[in-house]
């Protein structure tokens, strides 16, 4: 099931890298989010127009997605991450275990990203939330990174977020 921003169906995204880790290992250290996002961002940005700034921008977005996965609350299974490229867009496909009862919350959060009031909702979340919610993080990606976000539910116990990041255009 797809909910959220539409992406060009005909676009061919070339695979750049793929990564998988046991969820238990991933959850053993919060710094994994920072280290993985920094390392992977550097790897995929090396042939962008401004590799250093692209890497910094991309790492910021990827870290938020990894932190969302970290906070999903499921310790079994695997976290899977794949990064693809199509022209100025990088596509991040991140799959992580998620209790079935949590899935509707992700679906709802993604659906709100594409609504006309997304900007107002984002400002409201900064203005009133004590801590960032899943929704405000996805809104942050949509508004500050111009991301398009979809959700796929491949099994009952996992969600896949597909996030298209047109950062090359923003950095250059």
């Amino acid at each position: 099931m797809d909910v959220g921003n539409s992406v060009p169906a005909e676009a061919i995204f070339e695979p750049l890298l793929q990564f998988e880790m046991e969820m238990g290992t991933f959850l053993s250290e919060w710094q994994h989010c920072d280290h993985l996002s920094s390392y992977l961002a550097r790897m995929i940005s090396h042939n962008r127009t401004d590799p250093v700034r692209h890497s910094n921008f991309f790492s910021s977005a990827l870290n938020e997605l990894l932190e969302v996965s970290f906070r999903s609350g499921a310790a079994s299974g695997h976290i899977g991450l794949a990064i693809y490229r199509h022209g100025p867009i990088e596509r991040v496909q991140i799959t992580f275990p998620c209790p079935a009862e949590q899935v509707p919350f992700y679906r709802e959060a993604v659906s709100k990203v594409d609504r006309s009031d997304a900007h107002a909702r984002y400002l409201d979340s900064i203005s009133t939330d004590m801590a960032p919610s899943r929704e405000s993080i996805l809104l942050d990606l949509a508004i500050n990174f111009d991301a398009s976000i979809r959700i796929e539910e491949s099994t009952l116990h996992a969600v896949t977020l597909i996030v298209d990041l047109p950062l090359e255009g923003l950095v250059s």
Binding site: W30, C33, D34, S38, H46, N47, T49, D50, P51, V52, R53, S55, N56, F57, S59, S60, A61, N63, E64, E67, Y122, L123, I126, S127, D129, M130, A131, P132, S136, I137, D140, I143, N144, F145, L167, L170, V171
Partner: protein, 392 residues
């Protein structure tokens, strides 16, 4: 000034004298508790501030939403409680996500304004980055390269290494290094988008695709610590007003055991025959003129001291003289003509010098050109090269 930190990668500080609260580094806490000290520092700072609180995030490399919400919450609550308070957040144009994230705050709270720091990284920037200067910069590099290509290996440049060229300008030095020495990686950084656009075009025309050109402020680079075997910074220390800060950054990105390589001038030692006296007078005045704009074009022989004070060891210093006999004398003359245009035509005018001074000032450059093109003449431009090793 008080300082608090989550880890060595993150620093918060408050300078009560200038009412500046600054955040620097990477701040990605799991919970707000991890940054409680810094949050408390911000609250305390706000309590003591009268008028405007500046929040400097120019050196903030990463911040997750957890930290962003926590710091912003403090600022918003303070503005709501105190009508007299204004908060000015200063971001850097280099860090794209920060400019965008913080940029929304004014939409939420009119007492918060956001300024993007991007146009004046150092006082003399407008002179040095004049795009009309580009052809002359290429000629200058062509002239210095004749010497540096044989000097560089003595200072540690060799094939297969990772190298950064900081303040790369139009990027021609990086292209020459890539062709001659084949390092495994070159990152070339500059703060002029126009120069970088030119650099990318030149590299493409030469069929060179593996130089990583990046926009950035040399005194607060996004590059990580201990990455490069060789870090070059040519003709730039002398035009920065915050030289220690720049050297600290060069030191930081250099690997232990790697070397930082700097070149600088001593303009008062430019010389020529015939008409030596007029030439010498003008170049003494060049040094004073640059000093007026907080630049030190006499820095060359001070390189050893600067490198030693920055913590380098095994410091090597040498000098060479670019002359009218290096290749075509007309190249030398063209460079001097460009100097006359910028130094006498723009900088002296900006300083407010009287016409009679400018006329005499110009004459020295013209005499230098005369010496360069004279069949029996000699004209020189001395450069100091220095490198230091970062201790292991």
């Amino acid at each position: 000034m008080s300082v608090a930190g989550l880890s060595p990668s993150f620093k918060a500080a408050f300078d009560a004298n200038s009412q500046v609260f600054s955040l620097a580094g990477v701040i990605r806490p799991r919970s707000v508790d991890e940054i409680a000290d810094s949050i408390a520092m911000l609250k305390q700072a706000i309590d003591g501030v009268r008028g405007v609180l500046y929040v400097d995030v120019k050196r903030l490399i990463q911040m997750n939403n957890t930290a962003f919400h926590a710091f912003v919450r403090v600022a918003l609550d303070a503005c709501r409680a105190r009508a007299d308070l204004r908060v000015v957040i200063v971001t850097s144009s280099v860090v794209g996500w920060a400019t965008r994230m913080f940029g929304h705050l004014n939409e939420i709270e009119p007492q918060i304004t956001v300024e993007v720091y991007d146009s004046t990284f150092y006082p003399g920037q407008s002179f040095v980055e004049d795009t009309s200067f580009i052809p002359i910069l290429r000629t200058q590099t062509k002239m210095t390269w004749r010497h540096e290509r044989s000097i560089l290996p003595r200072h540690g440049l060799r094939p297969g290494i990772a190298m950064a060229d900081v303040c790369c300008g139009i990027g021609d030095f990086a292209v020459l290094v890539q062709k001659e020495f084949q390092p495994a990686r070159i990152v070339a950084l500059d703060h002029s988008k126009a120069s970088l656009a030119y650099a990318r075009e030149v590299a493409t025309n030469f069929g060179i695709t593996d130089i990583e050109y990046t926009y950035g402020d040399a005194s607060e680079m996004l590059l990580e610590d201990n990455q490069f075997d060789f870090v070059s910074c040519r003709h730039s220390l002398q035009i920065f007003n915050e030289r220690e800060l720049l050297l600290k950054e060069l030191y930081r990105i250099c690997k232990p055991g790697g070397r930082v390589y700097i070149t600088n001038e001593k303009n008062s030692h430019c010389l020529g025959e015939p008409r030596a006296q007029s030439i010498q007078w003008t170049y003494n005045e060049v040094a004073k003129l640059f000093s007026h704009f907080e630049m030190d074009v006499e820095l060359g022989p001070k390189s050893r001291r600067y490198l030693a004070d920055a913590g380098f060891d095994d410091i090597l210093v040498e000098s060479f003289m670019v002359t009218n006999h290096d290749g075509d004398p007309q190249d030398f003359a063209d460079v001097i003509a460009a100097w006359e245009h910028v130094y006498a035509g723009e900088m002296a005018v900006r300083r407010g010098d009287p016409p009679e001074f400018i006329q005499r000032f110009r004459q020295g450059f013209r005499d230098h050109i005369f010496a360069a093109l004279h069949p029996k003449g000699y004209a020189g431009w001395p450069i100091w090269v220095a490198s230091g090793r970062k201790p292991t």
